[in-house]
Every structure is written in structure tokens, then in C-alpha cells.
Amino acid sequence: MAKKNVIVIGGGIAGMESASYLSAMGFNVTLLEKSNELGGHLLNWERLFPTMRYGKQVIDFLAKGIDFEQINKVLNVEIKSIEKKNTQFCVELSNGKTFFGDSILITTGYDLFDAHRKEEYGYGIYNNVITSADLEKIFMSGNPITTTDGKTPKRIGIVHCVGSRDEKVGHVYCSKVCCVTGVKQAIEIKEKMPETEVFNFYMDMRMYGMHFEALYKKAQEKYGIQFIRGRLSEAAENIDGTIVLKVEDTLAGRPLKMNVDILVLLVGFVPSKGSKEVGKLMGLNIGINGFYKTKDQHTLTNVSNIDGVFFAGSCTGPKTITNTITDARAAASSVASYLLGFDLHKRDIENHEEFWLYDSK
């Protein structure tokens, strides 16, 4: 029997790891990526919570799988159309090339929330307001963290839930990784600049992962990082370029203002542009929050509404690196089972629509 072909769309960590596993299981794998490099967002992230491991080490680890399995990597491409005829998929790229697949695995990931949309926080307007992604760029460059006029910051504020859990921007969901990223970045700042005061402003500290709570405690105990329970209502620029924050210190029950030299906005996950485009091309179901809708929340977490099309990674919702890698392997086994003719993904389960969650009536 001829080897079956799988097309994986998206060369982030989910795409990389599922491609390796699918190839190891005996399928021909083509991995399509729009940029010129595999690794996705992780390429722009220096260290990972909770261990402080370098992101690059994870990418290198995943790349070993890709190289060992001799995956057909196709970089710098955009998808023009995807057609399904019987059980065959035909993916046409904008450069005219076409690929045929017996199954498609979608790993189109997420985009970071555009912090400009929280106008009252002044991102892109006040000089010393940056996002968590901008801070990672500084970490990766090895440059010192300074204000725009080159001074060492005496105090840095980190704001949680920017673009997450916020009806005013239309994102009611939790992005999962920001709380612990805030703790991680606060520690990194303190390691580089022990004299700098760091404050985290939060609604809830969601330390759900293994060792996350330990990292939170270490941030307090070893690094003296402070946590204030209050959500930022607005930021403004002072005459000297520092940023004044307004929150309620909810535990003291009084409004609080604080000047910081740099304000870091922990931006959350939003459905990626790529996911939206591919979703439209193929007619994939989109959930209420804009991420792909899986066939079931608990059981069919990699299965789409189109037979032969599967999902992996954060295209179905915010996920950590660990979650994503696990999900990629799970998706690979779902695809493999389908291609080998098993009907595991067709098992019946009573339908539970997510809609009821969002309907208070």
C-alpha cells in the first residue's frame, strides 16, 4: 500500500512536533509555514516558565525530530485554496505549487492581542509602555532594559489580563499563560536589575500548572516582587516621561496611583489571522471565542467538523508550550488512526454546545 500523505499547516511548535510523530508513524508529511523559519512565537521568547529554560532549547529539540524524520518543509508560503475531492485534499499555494494530502492537520496557532486596542493604557502613545512580547525582544537582544531616554528603571509595573477576561475588547476568556509569564518576567527583571522595584497588578493569580505556585512564591520570597490586587483602569504620562497608573488597591479598599518608569502589558492570545483565513477557505467551524471549534470539549479535542481535518495546538484556544507539545502528539495519533482506517474519531458522544456557557438567560 502506498504511503499516505499528510499536510500540516503551520510551522510553530505544534506543527513541528506533530509532523515528526506522523512521519515516525510512517506517513509522508509536508509542513507548510508562512515565515522563513520554523518555531513560531517561541522564536521570539527567551526563557520559559516555570524552569527558566531557554525557548531555543525546545525549538532545537523539536527540530531534531523534523530533521531526523526528513519532513518536507515548505517555508515562505501562503495558501491560496484548499479543495476536498472524495477523501483527497488539494492545497494550492499562492506561488502556484500544489500538494495533495489524505489528511490535513491545522496548527495555525494564535496571534498576540494588539495592545493598541486598550487605548486607555497608552501603548504606542506613551513611550515607556511596552508589551510582554517587547520585553522578550529586549531579553533576547541582550541589551539592558532602559526607558526610552536611556535611564535604568527604578520601578517597573506589570499589568495582567491585557486583552483577556475583558468584555470591553470582546475577549472574555483567560489566556492562561500571562499570570505565570508576569511572574517569570518579574524575576528576570530582578535578576538583571536587583535594585529595580517590580509590581504586578492582577485580578486573580492563576498558578494552575505544576511548579507555577512555587515560582510565584520564589518571586515574593527571593526577589521581593510585589503583587497588588487591582486591575489597571488607566495609564497616563507624567512630564518626566514616567507612567502614572491608576488602580484600586482592592485589599486596602482605596484608589491607588503609582509612578513607574516602564509599564509592561501582559498581552493575551487571540485567534490568529492565519486560522481565520484557513477556516474560511475550508469552512471550518469557529467557536464563540473565535478559535477553531473542536468536535467535543473533553474527548474529540483534535477533531474538526470536516472528515480528515484535525487540529493541534493553540489554534483551538490558549495553551502553554507543554500543553501544545502534548496536544501535537495527540493530534498526530488522531490523524494516524484516521488514515489507518479506524473510526475512533467518529465515536458518538452527546453533544454539549459551548453556547450555553455564554447565555445567562
Partner: protein
């Protein structure tokens, strides 16, 4: 009464079993969104009146839920109903209507 030189202290504990939630229930009935408050304090941070008066809508909603109606009665008088908190709430609570209904409820129950 004899004075022994010491007093019997009032119990400060919130006695949840004696929690009188009629005012909260009254408000929640006409403005359901109050139930979704997570006490983040964005309303009180953005509040103009809170800068000069002892007003915190977050605390008022908490008092309401705990049935501490006496404590919130005076505090709510400081609200100027400008509605700024309505614009800021991340849970979409209709704060202005919450306040109006608390006032209606206070009148209704003659608290």
C-alpha cells in the same frame, strides 16, 4: 449595671447565616449583571468620586452580597452617577443601573 472596668466586645465576624440578602436579591433581579462581579476594582479605580470621598463600588457590591446594608447606605450617597465605571468594567456589569437599583431597594425596604 455594674462597671467592672472592662466591656463585652461586639462580635466583628460576618455571620453569614444571618446574612440578609434581600437588598442584593432586589438588585440582582432587575440587574442580573451584578452577579458577574469579580471584585477587580476597575470601577473604583476609574471613579472620580472615589478620589475625594470614601466610595468604592467594589466594596459596595461586596457589602451588598454580605447583607451589610447599613455599611453601604452612606457610602453610596457619594456616587455622582457619572457612569464612568460602566465604561471600564471588564465583566460588562451595568454599574449605573446597579447603583440606581440599590437606591431604589433602600427606599423600597425603608432601610
Amino acid at each position: 449595671m455594674k462597671n467592672f472596668g472592662y466591656t463585652i466586645q461586639n462580635d466583628r465576624q460576618i455571620d453569614y447565616d444571618k446574612n440578609d440578602t434581600k437588598l442584593y436579591d432586589f438588585v440582582a433581579e432587575s440587574e442580573k449583571s451584578i452577579r458577574t462581579c469579580i471584585f477587580c476594582g476597575t470601577c473604583s479605580a476609574t471613579c472620580t468620586a472615589s478620589k475625594f470621598t470614601d466610595l468604592s463600588l467594589r466594596r459596595i457590591i461586596l457589602y451588598l452580597k454580605r447583607g451589610l446594608n447599613e455599611s453601604l447606605k452612606k457610602e453610596i450617597e457619594s456616587c455622582m452617577l457619572c457612569g464612568k465605571c460602566n465604561l471600564a468594567c471588564p465583566r460588562g456589569v451595568n454599574t449605573r443601573n446597579v447603583i440606581l437599583n440599590i437606591k431604589r431597594g433602600i427606599e423600597h425596604y425603608e432601610l
